[in-house]
Structure formats: C-alpha cells, structure tokens
C-alpha cells in the first residue's frame, strides 16, 4: 500500500524527522487561507498522487506570490496528471500539498528497503540527492552507499557513521547529529510500520545546518496490514483503477494493461508466462489476472465479468492448469458468467490438470461458443488468428 506524500510527512513529523510546514487542500478556496498560515514566499504547490515522476509531469510548482499559490492549486486540482510512471491517460489530482519553500544548501538521498540477497533491512544514502536514484545508480554507482542492518541487533549509531563519514566531502560537523537522528528515525518507522520502502529524496541541508525531508515516500507491506490497522485509514482507493478495485473485492489478482487480449490464469507465474505467450503470438495482453489456487465458481464468474468490462478486449484466453483449482469449477464459473453477461468476444480455452475431462464436458454441453486449445502452442496460434 502506497501512502501520499503528505501522509508520509505527517508520520515523519510525529517521529521527529523535520519536514517543511505545509497544508493539504482539496478545494481552491482553501489555498488562500493556506498562504496566510504557511510562511512564504516562496511556496511549493505539489500534486498528491501515488505515481512518481511528478516533477517531470508538471505536478510540482514553486511560486512567489499568494495569488500564484491559488492559481497553481487551481491548475492542479482535478487535473489529469501524466508522469513518466502513469501511462498516457494519467491520474486525477484530488489533493494538493502547499508548503513553505526551503532554501537548499545541499541535497542528499536517503532510503530504507529490505535487501533481497542479504535478507537485511538496508539503508541507502547518497550525496547525489534530488535526482532519480536509478539514474545515479546507472551513471555513478560509487555515489550510492549501503548499510545492512543486522535485524537481531537493530539500529546502531555506527551504522549512521559508516554512511556519513564515507561521503566526500563529509557533511558539515554541525549537521551530523541532525542527519544521524533522521537515519535512526527512518529505521524506526520502517520497522514499526512494516514498510517495504521509506524514501526521502531530497533530504536537504539549509545554510544554517538544519535538515528537512523535502519529499517523502512510504510504501507499506500489504501482507502486514493485518497488524497495521491504523494505516488502513490512509488508503486512498481513488488512486487505483476501478477494475482493479473491483477485483480486489473478490480476492482476484488483476492488473490492467494496455493490450486487447484478456487473460484468465491460475497462479501468478503461469499468468505472467501466459501474457508473454500472447505477446509472442503478436498480440498485447489487456490484463494480468491470477484467480489463485483456491478460486470458487463465483470468483471465476467475477473474473470473466471484470475482463469484459474492459472495452478494449477483443478476445479472451483462459489458461488453467488445474491443481487445487479444479477444471470443473473453472468451467462452471465461465458458463455462469456467460449467462449473466453476454460474452461478445471470442473465447479461447485451454484446460489441463485436475478434473480436466469434467471441465471440458461442462463447456461442451453449455451454449457457450468457445475455441479449444489443447496446449499453449495452439492457444498462441488461436490468439494470433484473432488479431490478424
């Protein structure tokens, strides 16, 4: 689960990480009042969306007069913001964060993740802050420093010293303790809130050696939400695709993509591989849909309905390798879906595994029109015929 910048900064502020004074507004008339409360000029007006790359998409504006705060807010609220991470249709801006401008002397990058190879919480620090860290990693990886934290021991002051004193030049003496405190607090937030990412880019130093988190990114581990109930209140369903939201409700793993061949598969790996098969057949997948191991007939029906709600879909490929999910359950679900919504596009079905005979039988005896693929190769051929 992703948090908005203002939500993450709220957590930072409460945990002792300094953030600029700011206020979230959801309507233009609140912007004027915000300028009276927040010191400026300058002010920074930032679109609050989950997608990254907001700066490049015009979602961050630095302004110098109160009326500009209002016009900037007006230009962002309700706007479809297109960033390098959103896709061409963009995302709607529902909230805007208005902040005091901070005079920047130095910019750092600071983040925390779990490193997959060492299985350790790992802090990443760089003096090349304010840029995309992926670009820094690609161009000058020596500027990126990592510190693995032993989970049995927890955060130690030397972890911070290892990162800070490896900088060339090291941060000014007067700023060291403030930076060390930010690092310790990032670790604390990461561990107590079950984060998969805490990122501050940039973490800035002012001329008078004060430290501020100018941006904030916090991702929470979905698997840990059962013990992070308060964080659930911060979820913003408006940021999600409506079809993905609907799928979530029925415990289906659905991700909308840009193509026109719908796919329904059991198991994430096979679902990804089936998308690849579609692509190799010369078409583009319209979605990723993993109905999971223990899908019920009803879930299958809902899955078919969700695929069909995407108007771009020109054909559907169902690829099921029955294990726990039996082929007869799948077949009944598909037939039930066809009764509820007319399936207006060609349906290609490939069934294998547990109860495959019963499954094929149910499909054959229904009024459903569908094409049978005996194996994945044949499925690919049938897909490519649909798009040619």
């Amino acid at each position: 689960m992703k948090l908005h910048e203002y939500q993450a900064k709220d957590i930072f502020g409460k945990s002792g990480i300094p953030v600029p004074n700011g206020q979230v507004v959801t309507a233009v008339d609140q912007a004027t009042r915000a300028t009276q409360i927040i010191s400026g000029p300058p002010w920074v007006v930032k679109a609050q969306v989950h997608a990254g790359g907001r700066g490049k998409g015009g979602g961050v504006k630095v302004v110098h007069y109160p009326y500009e705060v209002v016009t900037a807010t007006e230009s962002l609220l309700g706007k479809h913001l297109v960033t390098p991470q959103t896709g061409p249709e963009g995302v709607t801006v529902n909230q805007v964060l208005i902040e005091e401008g901070i005079e920047i002397n130095r910019e750092y990058y600071l983040s925390m993740i779990v490193d997959r190879s060492t299985a350790c919480p790992t802090m990443i620090f760089s003096q090349a802050g304010g840029m995309e860290i992926e670009e820094v990693a690609a161009r000058s990886s020596e500027l990126i420093l990592k510190e693995h934290i032993d989970p049995a021991v927890g955060w130690m002051m030397h972890n911070a010293r290892n990162l800070l004193y490896s900088q060339e030049p090291p941060p000014p003496v007067g700023a060291l303790s403030a930076l060390m405190s930010v690092m310790a607090n990032v670790y604390k937030i990461f561990m107590t809130l079950d984060c998969t990412l805490v990122e501050i880019n940039p973490l800035v130093l002012t001329k008078d050696r004060k430290v501020f988190a100018l941006d904030a990114k916090v991702d929470i581990d979905d698997n840990a939400l059962f013990r992070q109930k308060e964080l659930l209140l911060l979820d913003d369903p408006r940021e999600k695709d409506p079809l993905e939201l609907m799928a979530e409700k029925y415990h289906l793993n659905y991700i909308r993509l840009d193509g026109n061949i719908g796919a329904m598969v059991n198991g994430a790996g096979l679902a990804m591989a089936t998308m690849d098969v579609i692509k190799m057949a010369g078409a583009e997948p319209a979605n990723f849909l993993d109905v999971g191991g223990g899908a019920s007939e009803d879930m299958i029906t809902k899955g078919v309905e969700i695929i069909l709600k995407d108007r771009r879909v020109k054909a559907i490929l169902i690829n099921i390798f029955g294990g726990i999910l039996r082929c007869d359950v799948l077949a009944r679900g598909v037939v039930a879906a066809a009764k509820k919504t007319s399936i207006r596009v060609p349906l290609i079905v490939r069934l294998e595994g547990t109860n495959v005979k019963e499954g094929r039988e149910i499909l054959r005896n229904s009024d459903l029109k569908f094409l049978v693929a005996r194996d994945l190769g044949e499925a690919a051929d049938l897909v490519s015929k649909q798009v040619s």
Binding site: G52, Q85, V114, R116, S117, A119, C120, P121, I133, E134, A137, A138, P151, A152, M191, D194, T196, D221, D222, N223, A224, F226, R227, N253, I255, L257, V265, N266, G267, A268, G269, L270, A271, M272, A273, M275, D276, V277, I278, K279, M280, E284, P285, F288, D290, G293, G294, F321, G322, G323, I324, E352, G353, T354, D375, L376, G377, E378, A379, A380
Partner: protein, 291 residues
C-alpha cells in the same frame, strides 16, 4: 537418488486441522508420502486422515521421529511455525503459506543462519521426488521419476513445465518450488549445488521470473561451477515496471528485476533460455539429446 526428500522422509504437517492442511495431508498420503504427524496447537490428541495430531513440533519429533515439516498455517503465525521447526532440528522445512510479512521473514532468515534446517518457500508449491515422496501441494500424477531436476519460483507454471517434460518422456529426479516471495529460505544456487552432487540428476530446468537478481546470481554460479546442462525460462517479459505481478517478489523496481536482463545474463553464461513456454518441453528434450 534425489535431493532433500525421499523414501526416508517422515513429514509433520503444521496446521493439519485447517482446510488446506487436511486436504493436502490426504493428497500426500495418497501419493505415498509418509505423513507421520500433524501439529495444531490446542488440538493434540486428535487424528486427521489417521495421522496423530500433536500440540508442539517437539512432541511430534519425540513420538513419531519426523524429519521434514510442511507448513499450512495462516500468515500471521507462519514465521513462528518455521522457527519452531528449525529449533526442533528438522532437516527440511517446506512453507506453503502465502502472505507472510517481509519483516517476519527478515527475522526468520536471521535465525536460520545458525540452524542446519533447509527452508523451502514460503509461498511455494513444495518439493517432490517423483515415485518416492511429495511434500507440498503439486498434483502428483503429472510427475514421473527420471533424470531432470526442476527449480522454480512459481507454482502452476512449474506444473505446466513438468507436464511438458513428462509428455516428452523426460521424468524428474526432484522438483522444487523455491517460492514467489522477495525473501525465501533457499535460492536457485543452494539447490543447484545439491543437484550437482546428485548422480541421478542429468540436467536442470530453472524457472525464474521478474524481480530481484536471483537468476543473474544463478547464471554466474552455473558458468563457474555447474557442469550439467541447464535450460531456463523467465516469466514476465511483458510485465510493466512498478507493478507487483501476483507474487510479492515479482516486481520490477528501480530498473532492476527485468526479464530481459535475466535472459541476457543466463544466455551470456551459456545457458539455453526457452523463450516460448509452449515448446519448452521440446527445447529441453533437444538440449538433453545433444548432451
């Protein structure tokens, strides 16, 4: 031969009284697996499919001499179950549970460094040595004994591959699903090392997917130290960056974890990468005939 599990495997099912645990206990028994005990705290003294249930792993070890565990307990309690099995000294721990918090797995990984137990998973289909035993949830009948090893990050995709192998006449020595989570107990390399020493294994099919760098690391190991033919397949060539594709570990982040990079790394190590899943079985057959 085979690796990790065989005829002498005595399984304890953790979470045996749950729906999944009970169902798969039955399936494993039907396959011929010796399920010697089950554990569900508070339900000791019962029986499931004729298998005695205990309150603790310790009791199951003492009473039934179990040496391998298969975990079906819900995510909030799964880390505890893994650590419990490890402290009891079990040789192999297979964790089927999907959805364990990452920070719980950080704790587990830190603790396992000092234990001899081999953890397979979590979020995996388990391990099978065809004709001998299966510890997990994979459909038994699609497998047959033979020379191919399979190591995979996925479940149903593995079944697809095994099905094709069996269809072309190639049986399997041992098939392992290492799990789809970002933090897993054992990696490709851990098992490649075992298959290298297993005389019955003549070749390996390695099934990877987007996310992390485990395939790249495996490629390095294979180039330097592995002497049997390896055929690889990578799922997720069409996956968009930044989206978690079902598996918690299947995400392309910060430009890392792309299928393309993995395929390139494997090919550069001289490994045959099958690009078309539909013909994977034939590809494996051709490679094995040549060797």
């Amino acid at each position: 031969m085979s690796i990790l599990v065989d005829e002498r495997t005595r399984v304890v099912v953790q979470g045996i009284t749950g729906r999944e645990g009970a169902f798969h206990t039955k399936q494993m028994l039907e396959y011929g697996t010796v399920v010697a005990a089950g554990v569900t705290p508070g339900k000791g003294g019962r029986e499931v499919e004729g298998v005695p249930v205990f309150n603790t792993i310790k009791q199951a070890v003492e009473e039934e001499g179990v040496n391998v565990s298969c975990i079906f307990v819900p995510p909030p309690f799964a880390a505890d179950a893994i650590i419990d099995s490890a402290s009891a000294g079990l040789e192999v721990i297979v964790c089927i549970t999907e959805g364990i918090p990452v920070l719980d797995m950080v704790k587990v990984a830190s603790l396992l460094k000092n234990e001899k137990s081999v953890l397979i998973g979590p979020n995996c289909p388990g391990i099978i040595s065809p004709g001998k035993t299966k510890v997990g949830i994979m459909p038994g009948p699609i497998h047959k004994p033979g020379p191919m090893a399979v190591i995979s990050r996925s479940g149903t995709l593995t079944y697809e591959v095994v099905y094709q192998l069996t269809g072309t006449g190639l049986g399997q020595s041992t098939c392992i699903g290492i799990g789809g989570d970002p933090l897993i107990g054992t990696t490709f390399i851990d098992h490649l090392k075992r298959f290298k020493e297993d005389p019955e294994t003549e070749g390996v099919v390695l099934i990877g997917e987007i996310g992390g760098t485990a395939e790249e690391e495996a490629a390095d190991y294979i180039r330097e130290e592995f002497n049997k033919p390896v055929i690889a397949f990578i799922a997720g060539q069409t996956a968009p960056p930044g989206r978690r594709m079902g598996h918690a570990g299947a995400i392309i982040s910060g430009g890392q974890g792309k299928a393309e990079d993995k395929i390139n790394a494997l090919q550069a190590a001289g490994i045959r990468v099958a690009l078309n899943l539909g013909t994977l079985g034939e590809t494996v057959q051709k490679v094995m005939e040549k060797s």
